[in-house]
C-alpha cells in the first residue's frame, strides 16, 4: 500500500513513473507483495516541474481553489510555491530529504521571513488538503504485509486488488490500506485508507492517468474523507519532465525568489 501511495506521491510531487516493468506475468500468479513491488519499481523522472490546482470542498459543497507550482528533483527535494489565491501568493515550502529525515523550510513573503520547520510531516495534511504527505510521498513498502485479494473490473479496466495490513498501525497512521491496481501498467486507480481502529477513513481515486514523455503519471486525483465529507481534488495542469532544474532551486535561500522563476 505504501507503495501505492508512494507511487502516487511520486507522481504528484515528482511527476512521473516509467513504463518500467510491464505486466507480462499474469496478475493471478503474483503475490500481493510482488504486485506492490511492481508498482514500487516504476521508474521516475529525474526532475519535474508541475503546475497544479488544488480544490478543497467541504461538506456544504463550498470550495476553495489554490494554485501551486512545484519543482521536484528526484524523490528527495521538492519546492512548492503558492500562486493563488492572491493573498498567499509567494508563500513557499521546501522539503529536502536527507538520511531518512525530512528537512522543511517555509517562506512567508508578507513577513519576509524564512524559517526552518520542525514537523512530523508524514501524518501532516499536505497544504491543508485531505492528502497527507504520507498519502503523496515516498514510503517504505515494508511497513505493510500484503495479500492479493482478487482480480476485478474497475471502471471497465482490469485491476488487481491488494490489501496491505500495517505491521505497526500507530507508526503509519493506518491499520490497513486496500488498493485497486491496473495490472498492465501497475498504477493504482483507487485506494482505501482504514484508520488505526479499522474504520474506513479516506478514499483516494486517481481519476486521470496519462503517459507523458514515456512516464505514466497520475494527473488528477481525489481524496475524500468519509468521516468529515471533506474532499480534495488535485489536478496537474502542466507537467514538464527532465528539464534539468538547477540544484540551487532547492535551497532555503532560493525560497524568496521562487516567484520570479515562474514563467509568466
Amino acid at each position: 500500500m505504501k507503495t501505492k501511495k508512494r507511487t502516487i506521491g511520486t507522481i504528484l510531487l515528482a511527476g512521473m513513473l516509467g513504463l518500467g516493468v510491464l505486466g507480462y506475468a499474469a496478475a493471478t500468479v503474483l503475490t500481493g507483495r510482488e504486485i506492490i513491488e511492481n508498482v514500487d519499481a516504476m521508474e521516475t523522472a529525474d526532475d519535474a516541474m508541475l503546475l497544479m490546482t488544488m480544490t478543497l470542498t467541504n461538506d456544504r459543497d463550498e470550495s476553495l481553489v489554490r494554485e501551486m507550482r512545484s519543482w521536484k528533483l528526484g524523490t528527495e527535494s521538492t519546492a512548492l510555491l503558492f500562486i493563488a489565491p492572491e493573498d498567499v501568493a509567494g508563500t513557499a515550502f521546501l522539503t529536502v530529504e536527507a538520511g531518512g529525515d525530512d528537512n522543511m523550510w517555509l517562506y512567508l513573503p508578507s513577513l519576509e521571513l524564512t524559517k526552518r520547520i520542525d514537523t512530523d510531516s508524514k501524518s501532516q495534511s499536505f497544504m491543508g488538503s485531505d492528502f497527507t504527505y504520507d498519502n503523496m510521498g515516498e514510503r517504505d513498502i515494508d511497513d505493510y504485509e500484503y495479500t492479493f485479494i482478487r482480480e476485478d473490473i474497475y471502471e471497465e479496466q482490469h485491476v488487481v486488488v491488494v490489501e496491505g495490513v500495517a505491521i505497526n498501525p500507530d507508526d503509519v497512521g493506518y491499520s490497513k490500506v486496500i488498493s485497486w491496481i491496473l495490472d498492465d501498467i501497475w498504477m493504482p486507480v483507487k485506494i482505501e485508507y482504514y484508520d488505526v481502529r479499522g474504520d474506513l477513513e479516506k478514499i483516494q481515486t486517481n481519476t486521470r492517468i496519462e503517459e507523458i514523455d514515456g512516464y505514466w503519471a497520475i494527473t488528477k486525483m481525489e481524496m475524500e474523507n468519509v468521516r468529515t465529507n471533506h474532499r480534495t481534488i488535485v489536478e496537474m495542469t502542466q507537467v514538464e519532465l527532465n528539464t534539468g532544474i538547477p540544484a540551487d532551486v532547492f535551497t532555503s535561500e532560493a525560497l524568496p525568489t521562487l516567484l520570479d522563476r515562474v514563467p509568466q
Binding site: 493573498d87 498567499v88 508578507s110 513577513l111 524559517k115 468529515t228
Partner: protein
Amino acid sequence: MDKLAKWIIRWPWITLGILLLITGVFLAGIPRLQIDNSVDSMLPDDHPARLLYDEVNDTFGGTDVMVIAVHSEDIFSEGTLSQVIELTETLQRLPGVDEVVSLSTAKRMDGEDGTLVVRELMPKAPETDAARDDLRTYVVGQEMYVNNIISSDGLYAGIVVELLPNVDDSAVYTSLRQVIDAQANADDIYVAGGPAVNAEMTTSMKGDLVQLIPFVLLVLAIVLYLSLRTVAGVILPLAVVLLTVIWTAGLMAWLGIPMAMISTTLPIMLIAIGVADAIHILTEYYAGLRGGEEKRSAIRTVVKHIGVAIVLTSITTLVGFLSLGTSPVQQVMQFGLFVGFGVMAALAITLTLIPAALELGRGPKLGARKVTKPSISTRVLTWLSKFVVKRRKALLIVGSVLFVLAAIGSTRLVVETNTLRFFRPETPIREATEVVDSSFGGSESLSVIVNGDIKSPDVLNGMLEFQDWANTLPEVGYTASVADYVTQINEALHDNDPVERVIPQTRNAVAQEILLYEMSSDPSDFARVVNYNYEQARVVLRMESLSSSELGALVQQVEDEAVRSADSQFDVEVMGSTYLFKVLTDLLVSGQILSLLVSLLGVALVVGLIFRSVRFGLLSMIPLGFTITLNFGIMGWLNIPLDTATTMLASIAIGIGVDYTVHFLSKYRRELRAGNTSHAAVGETIQTTGRAISYNVVAVAAGFAVLLFSSFGPIATLGALVALSMGVSGLAALTLLPAALIATEVKQKKA
C-alpha cells in the same frame, strides 16, 4: 343522550367490544411512539433565534458542547494522558459527535532556536519526565488551552465534545455515559454542559413520572374507595383513565408526533381529566340508587342528566386547552391539541364504558347505608350549604381580599428558568456542573458570530478586544476565536517572543499565517471558528450555568460590547443553545399569558352560550380567575419562579377547574327550573353536585400531591401547585360561585 343510554343498556357487551377494539387499534400504535426532547425543536421554525441557530450550526458544525473533566493527582501523568487519548478516540466515534477537542487533538506551535515547531501536541503519551514537564510548560502557557483542555487549577484534563447539529441530546449523552462509566476511575470523571443537563432532565422527568404514576393511581384508588365505597367506583374511573391515556398516546404514535418534554406530563393531565367525568356519573348514579331508583332507570337518568353536564364540561375543558393552540411553541400547541383529544376521548369512554359496565355489574346494596347516620362528608356538605347561604357577603369580602392580596403577590412573580436548579443539589449532574464551572470557568457555550472580512487585522483585533473584555466577566471562563490561532502562530514565528502574541499588521500576513496553520492541521479544524471563505467567524464563550434572566442580561451585555468592539468593522450576532433555551422560556411564558386570556374568555363565552346567559358566562370567570390569581399570587409570595414547568399550570387550572363551575351551574339551573328559590337551589346543589366536586377535588389533589415525592424539582412543584389549584378551584366553585349567584340573582330580581 337517552337513546344512547338505552342502546348501551341493551347491548352492553357490544359496547365493551367496540371500546376494546378501538383501544386495541390505539394500543398497537404505541410501540412506534417516538421521543424528541431537543430544545431547538421546540422553537418555531421561523423564529429569528432558531434561524440563526440553524444557520450557525450549518456553517460551523455543532455548537452544543459537553465538557468532560477528568480529575487526576497529576493530569500530565502517563496514565491520565493515555486515558485522555483513549477517551478522545472513542468519543470521536460516537454517533452524533462532531468533534472532540482535548490534549490529544491539540496542536503545538512553538518557536525554538530559530525553528518553527508545528506538531501534534501529543501523538502519544510522553514516556519520560522531561517530556511530560515540557508538555506541561507548553500547555500551561497557552491561553487557548487553559480552561479548555486543562483546568486553570491544573486538577482536571478537559475533553470538549461537540455535538452534530440537531441530534438527540439524550441518545448522545447515554452512549457517552456508557463510555465514561466503563472507565475504572469513572467517579473522577465529570460530564457537564447543556446537552448533558437536557438529557438528565429528560431522564429524571420520565423516570419520576413512570415511578410515581402508579402511586398517583393508588392514592386515587384509595380516595375513590373512601368516597364511593364500591369496587366499581374504583375500577371504572381508573379504567376510563387508562383507556384515555392509551387512546391519546396511540393517536400521537399513529400521527408520528413525538412525545416531547412538555407532553411527558400528558398522562398526569389525562388522569386528572379522565377521572372527573367518571366520578360525577358514579356519584349521581349511587345517589339515584340510594333514592330507591331501580338500576336500569338509574343508569338512564344519570346518563341523561350528568351526560349533558359532562358533555358541557368537556367542551369547556376543550376550549381551555385548545387555547394552548395559540402558543408560538409548537410542542405546547401540540400538547394543547392532544389534551383536547384526551378530553373528548375521556368523554366518549365515560359515557359508554360506565353505563355498559354498570348494566353488566350487580348493583351495590346502597339502600341500606342511607338509613345509617349521615357520613362526615354529608354533614360537612350540609353545613357548607347553610354556611354559604348565610355568610355569602362575608365570603365575597374574604374572597375579594384574598384576590387582591394574590394579585399583589402575582406582580412579584419572576419569569425565570434555572434548568440546573431543577435537580436537587447532590445529583451527579449538578455536582459535575459545579466542578466544571469552578475549574474550567463554565460548561455552557455562547457564540458571537462575526460577519466581515475575517482576515483583516482590524477585524481580528476587534475580536481580541471583545474577548479581552469578555474574559473579565465573572460568568465567562474561556473565550476562543480564529484570532487566538493567528496570535499563537505569529508568536511562534517570532521565536516565542511574547510581544509578538499579536495579530500581524497586514491582511496578507494574516492569510499566510493561517495557511501555515492549515498546513499543519486537518482541513476541518478551522471550520469550527471560521467559515470557508473567511466572511464569518465564531467567537466561542464558555460560561457558567446561568438562569434564564441572568443569561438574558449577559447576552445583552455581550451584544453591546461586541458591537462596540466591532467599531463598524463587522456585524455581530449572539447565539447558542443555552440562549435558545432562554428565548424559548420567554416565548413559553409570553405565549402562556396570551393562552390564559384566550382560555378565560373562551370558557366564559362557551359557558354563556351553553346556558344562554351572559350572567353565567361572567360568573364562571369568578372561580377560574380566582384560582389562577391565587396560584400566581402564592408563587409570587413564595418566590416560586414562573418557568417552563410552572407556566403550564394555569392552563391545567382552567381546563380542569372549569368542570366544577359547569357542573355547579348546570345543577343549580336544574334546581331553579324545578321551582326552587336561589337559596334553596344553592343549598341543594352544594349537597349533591358539591359531593361529586369534593370527591373529585380530593381525588385529583391527593393524586397530584404524590408528585411531591419526586426528586425532580419541576415535577414536585407542579404536583404541589396542581393539588393546590384543584383545592382552590373546588372551594371557589362551592363558596364564591354560589355566593355570587345569590348576590346577582337578588339584584336581578330587584331590578
